[in-house]
Amino acid sequence: MTTIDAPRSPHTPATATRKVNWEKWGWIYMRASGILLVVLIFGHLFVNLFLGTGVRAIDFAFVAGKWASPFWKVWDVAMLWLALIHGGNGMRTVINDYAHGRGRTVLLVLVAASVIGLIVLGTLVLTTFDPCPAGAPGNLVPSFCPVNSK
Amino acid sequence: MSTESPSKKSTAKAVEPEYLEFEDGAVIDGVHYHRHDVVIVGAGGAGMRAAIEAGPKANTAVITKLYPTRSHTGAAQGGMAAALANVEEDNWEWHTFDTVKGGDYLVDQDAAEILAKEAIDAIYDLENMGLPFNRTPEGKIDQRRFGGHTRDHGKAPVRRACYAADRTGHMILQTLFQNCVKLGVNFFNEYYALDIVMTKVKGKDRPSAVVAYELATGEIHVFQAKSIIFATGGFGKIYKTTSNAHTLTGDGVGIIWRKGLPLEDMEFFQFHPTGLAGLGILLTEGARGEGAILRNASGERFMERYAPTIKDLAPRDIISRCMVQEVAEGRGAGPLKDYVLLDCTHLGAEVLETKLPDITEFARTYLGVDPVVEPVPVMPTAHYAMGGIPTNIKAEVLSDNDTVVPGLYAAGECACVSVHGSNRLGTNSLLDINVFGKRAGNYAVEYAKTAEFVPVPVNAASFVQGLVEELRDSNGTERIGALRKELQEQMDLNAQVFRTDESLAKVTETIHTLRGRYKNVSIQDKGRRFNTDLLEAIELGFLLDLAEVVVYSARNRQESRGGHQRDDYPTRDDAHYMKHTMAYLTGDPHSADASDHISLDWKPVVITNYQPMERKY
């Protein structure tokens, strides 16, 4: 038998608190980021999976080669941020729908933590990335690396 | 429980019956007690209009067996009349005349004047409350034509009906409910009023409380009130074929009847010619206005025979009678030869889709008949009770021709003011519920401001408790459904548009036997929560009572007038019957001869300006 809580325990309209309206901005963000992500993700997938011989072509050298160009760096940073926040906010919606009480809080914290963690991690990786790490064998790194020009 | 009377004046004598003293909300011996200045029974158009007046001015409660928005006011389509003159010249005096003439002069003309005059404010009230009327190009309320509404005493049709698409009743019901929400009106939803408590005060019966049954829990509630307003709607369910809802079982009228108070003009019931056969769902008169034709089984346009000149556009009562006659004489269509056909096929798809979309949808949905290509099975459908609880123009209930029952009011279809006389004009009922609903609310508050509470006897709930427990424990063999079906079928056969002394005698007999069988009824649901089995049995009790009054009053009126068509007395007889019927319950309803427990009296018709004339259009 269905049992449900009393609907929306005492209602306080958004105006009463005048905080940032997360629901509205979240909603707008999902759409704005969605549009951008279409371009970013399909571009990414196209280049990585479709050009050349698909995923087989991917290795350190490929990635490093891409990230040598600021264009792809910006592209991937943008994609990282937009997608993780988009996905994180989407997960928040899903969790709010199905989880209640303690479980909800735990899950939301987990999602938030992983989103923030991965954004920080990913951004660091991208900004501090060195395409020609010292000591790496020439066959693993891009052809423009000093190892290979010898 | 205290034996003291709350009324200070009656302290002297200890021999008075025992009265109850309680706080609002008290529960004594399992019965809940409430106290309000005004209690309104019914939350249809009339009840909620009254509540909007009473709510802000007095401590008001509304008891309703349905959620307010489920009330049958929402089914009305056509419109609500008022001489606004927004689109063409009009005035309320013409409207009064049309109402009187439409009612075949059995209308109380003082009441009709009020109806027509206050109609204008009633419409503006609704508009100001938010009702989304259709608009003219100037942004004013639009108006359209309707049967019987004319300019200058019958010279030409006039555009008087204010409307909101073909959902006027729906909009009225919603708008009134919205305003009740706004005012915080106190609703007791799904509470069935089953009795009114009368307390003897100085030798006179005075209403002191309403006793109600709470559907969700099966508990009994006593609502003490200074003013009580009945607005419980009609009782079309005494018939099988009706445009009325399943819940229109006339409980309020029945409660009043059982108290020995009179009922007025019960023989007058309006039958609308074109209800979907077997279902009774209404198909607007507009179909015939557009040129649709009635045909019998052999395809004959039978109205040519009865009314050679105006044929299918003859008045409602005449057409209804002819249709029944065709069927009675074996010319009905269908496998059981029990209906005639409304042929719209020659109108073409476009007219149907644009001008008659609703009936087109109804026919398609409910009969699977597409009016574009096939004729639609129709039969007259019991539509509106002109009679009911007699009131004066202040909506006060009368205990005889002119004595007011202090603190008791009635409005809407359950009441008889009488503004409809023997035949109601289209669009005048939505008007009635607004004008007299408002009046009832105001006069009830006015009375409650000065009146004292009438004490409630200790045994106030015992009648309802007995009724409920007896039925719940009943393990008879008769099914409610079967009894009700027989009543409705017999009423359709014998007391419908076409009545004779013989047919009425026959159905009287049926009702008597059914009453006997009703004692042996089987209630399968023994539970307390949402026991609709039990309540249907109680409702059937009211239907039996009211059907009997309708039939008995009809038998007694040996003339034909408006909605009452006697084949054995086919003409109007002003010399003998230019008066209202007043029926009283005076004995045990189980007695074999109805005249042993019903007595009839007459009440004069109030005539101000218009002397009776022959009614022709």
């Binding site: 549009i35 991917i58 490093a64 991965l118 990335f129 790490p133 | -």
Partner: protein, 112 residues
């Protein structure tokens, strides 16, 4: 209803993939060898199929996301939501028809 169910499922699935994907990509910062080792597992047939599913999921989520945006901002979007849904399905099939054969050939090539 079903468009929404799919949108939700694909959204959640992509989210989890993204978590893993960011982590594995981060390995590039540590050692090229490590990265290549992980990326090589992507090249097994099983994960090849997984990748196909991922593209299918992203494809649907993205196309339906555009549909939702059209419903929200195009004044007659709600009226055409069913048609839009079928267009989404059609485009999605086209997308997969373009991608799947190549991917399957790649998978087979990897196996041999």
């Amino acid at each position: 209803m079903w468009s929404w169910v799919l949108h939700r499922i694909t959204g959640v699935a992509i989210f989890f993939f993204l978590l893993v994907h960011v982590l594995d990509t981060s390995l590039v910062r540590i050692t090229p060898e490590g990265y290549n080792a992980v990326i090589n597992t992507y090249k097994t047939p099983i994960l090849g199929l997984g990748e196909l599913a991922l593209v299918a999921a992203i494809g649907f989520h993205a196309l339906n996301g555009i549909r939702i945006i059209l419903i929200d901002f195009w004044s007659v979007g709600t009226r055409h939501q069913k048609l839009l849904f079928w267009i989404v399905i059609a485009l999605w099939i086209v997308l997969l028809a373009g991608f799947a054969p190549r991917q399957i050939i790649n998978i087979i090539a990897e196996m041999s």
